[in-house]
């Protein structure tokens, strides 16, 4: 009985598996997309996925790639690294995608990277910013989002006009936050800007008043914060409650200023942010026409305006992948990987072109986008004369 039941169960599983692998649309090029569609980062993941869909639809409307339609297979990594690795496995092994985009959070991307090496499938990284991603010697990684090192270099070009004397850091306790503190700190020291405290906070932490009390008592004139919009909301509110009067600059690209204004209210005023896309004023983008078209399509589909600060990455990512497939001439992993090195196209915030990063012989590709400085004043986003 038990033996029977188990055997039947195993047989059923095999049968189901066999049936499932049979499915697959012909005449379409499959692209895997891994994003956090549920869990703590669901809002961001959905923005990116929707941006990707806009790009795919646009490309397909113009005839697709190599005469075939792009078919996005969007999977949910549930805001969890182990799950990210599992769905990457599924996409590669079951759906046989020749290329993927993902996985939003650096932890998720890092978890997937060994799979890329194992199965030799390239992945385009659209949001993750850990330096490690492109310095681990993984030739299947091509990233369009900047790690904090690149962000710091871009920031260096305009930092002098801000006249920072001494800066404290308050960063989220993961590779992203710590990396930012390290890279920006290094850049500051090269420009004779003093670095004061470096305080950290756990990703799920909600009470930063201890760190803020410490920072309030310091002699720095500026506070650099790197974390996502939820913690920023809390920090701004708690900082206001403490009467913290320093200039606040945020980095990292996950600030979502509209949501900040919405949830932090007056506490968000007079804060400065380093962002990678300015949907409030598409004219300053690298390609204003493309930016306007994207923003219009986004609004037309009824997505929240606040999501534009993240969704453009999904858009750029799919366009980059399409360009690589076109250059490769065939939808095969190795050809696409080689093609990534050869393409150059205009993205929302600058030219997309991959430079070598990481140990020789196993370089990953890193593109260097531009940055924009914005300020929140009186509940609105303004672009200072930069």
């Amino acid at each position: 009985m038990r033996r029977h039941a188990t055997k039947t169960a195993l047989a059923a599983i095999v049968l189901a598996a066999g049936l499932a692998t049979g499915a697959g649309a012909q005449d379409a090029i499959k692209v895997g997309v891994i994003q956090p569609l549920t869990g703590a980062f669901a809002a961001s993941g959905n923005y990116v996925a929707n941006g990707a869909k806009i790009a795919a639809d646009e490309i397909n409307a113009k005839g697709g790639v190599l005469g075939k339609k792009l078919d996005l297979i969007i999977e949910d990594n549930k805001s969890n690294p182990t799950e990210a690795a599992a769905v990457a496995e599924k996409l590669i092994v079951r759906d046989k995608v020749p290329v993927m985009m993902g996985a939003w959070g650096s932890g998720f991307t890092l978890a997937i990277m060994p799979k890329l090496m194992e199965y030799k499938v390239p992945m385009l990284v659209e949001t993750s910013s850990a330096g490690k991603i492109t310095t681990s010697g993984n030739p299947y990684i091509f990233r369009i989002s900047p790690p904090s090192a690149v962000e710091a270099v871009a920031f260096a070009k305009i930092v002098d006009q801000l006249k920072i004397g001494k800066a404290d850091f308050l960063v989220v306790n993961n590779d992203w936050g710590r990396g930012a503190a390290e890279d920006f700190g290094k850049m500051f020291k090269e420009r004779n800007i003093k670095v004061g405290l470096v305080e950290t906070m756990d990703p799920p932490a909600q009470d930063m008043s201890a760190q803020l009390a410490k920072i309030k008592a310091s002699d720095a004139d500026t506070l650099i914060i790197t974390t996502a919009v939820e913690q920023l909301t809390l920090i701004f509110k708690q900082a206001a409650a403490l009467g913290l009067k320093k200039r606040i600059i945020t980095t990292g690209g996950s600030q979502n200023p509209d949501q900040l204004i919405d949830q932090a209210g007056a506490a968000a005023n007079d804060t400065t942010h380093i962002t990678f896309f300015t949907p409030w004023n598409p004219n300053v983008s690298a390609d204003p026409a493309m930016a306007k078209a994207f923003i219009d399509e986004w609004k037309k589909r009824g997505h929240p305006f606040a999501g534009l600060t993240e969704s453009f990455r999904g858009y750029d990512g799919i366009r980059t992948i399409a360009a690589a497939i076109g250059k490769a001439g065939k939808a095969e992993p190795e050809a696409i990987r080689a093609a990534f090195w050869q393409i150059e196209l205009s993205g929302m915030n600058g030219q997309i072109k991959f430079n070598k990063a990481g140990p020789a012989g196993q370089e990953s590709g890193q593109s260097n986008p531009g940055i924009y400085l914005i300020k929140i004043e009186n509940g609105k986003v303004v672009l200072p004369n930069a």
Partner: protein
Amino acid sequence: MDQLLQHLVNAVILGGTYALLGIGLTLIFGIMRVVNFTHGELYAFGAYIVYLVAATLGLNFFLGLVVAVIAGVLLGALIEIALLRPMRTTDIDIVMLVMIGAWIVMQNTELLVWGGVAKAIVTPFPDAPLVIGPVSISWLRVFVLVVALLLIAGSYVLIHRTKLGKAMRATFQDADTAALMGVHIKGVHTATFAIGSGLAAAAGALLGPVFLVTPTMGDLASLKAFAIVILGGLGNITGATIGGFILALVEELGAGYVSSGYRDAMGFLIIIVVLLFKPTGLFARAERVG
């Protein structure tokens, strides 16, 4: 010195709500001997109810608080009647597992209904803080402290001045004798669980607007509540109150002067250290409620 004062003030305000959490759990844990894993979920539930009433429905914020506490009491009673009463077995392992199951169901229901993204609750309090010398406190937090202290006082009154409180104390001391003397044990259990849950919901309703509301906010709250109960001694409300303030103090000072990353570890370290060296808690005055 300024920094220290600010830390102390922060700690006092946080301590009030921690005390509420602790009192609720010490009653449940003490009188019913149940390792209540759903305590943190009631905390989160309280916060979500305030969100529902104040943010989603757009009604009065204070109404939201009241509704949250009442809802917490009712939910607590429901859990007790539906899950704990039928478990006539006093096997603590089995009860614990049922509580874990309930915790999983509750948390994921919240996740399903409200999603995993953090929610903010806008309050009618002014943003500008109250400034006393070198110390700044937001008005919202002052309100939270006042309400917390009122509820703590209310718990005292309940336990020491009401008939129900007497029944609870009797049950705590010796359930069998209490039953023989006519105390309706089943009713006492339901009431205890309901009150404890109501206090947890109150803590969540108060802290939800201060921070953010997420489905996992209860997990840390649960564990901190256990730390407070262990610090203060089982069934000891005074101990739980003091324990709540001590935990908040240790967290604030630890985060401020030692390492901000390990802030939440303080609670656990306390648990481990106290249990290993003084398992009955710092304030246990032989077992008694109150």
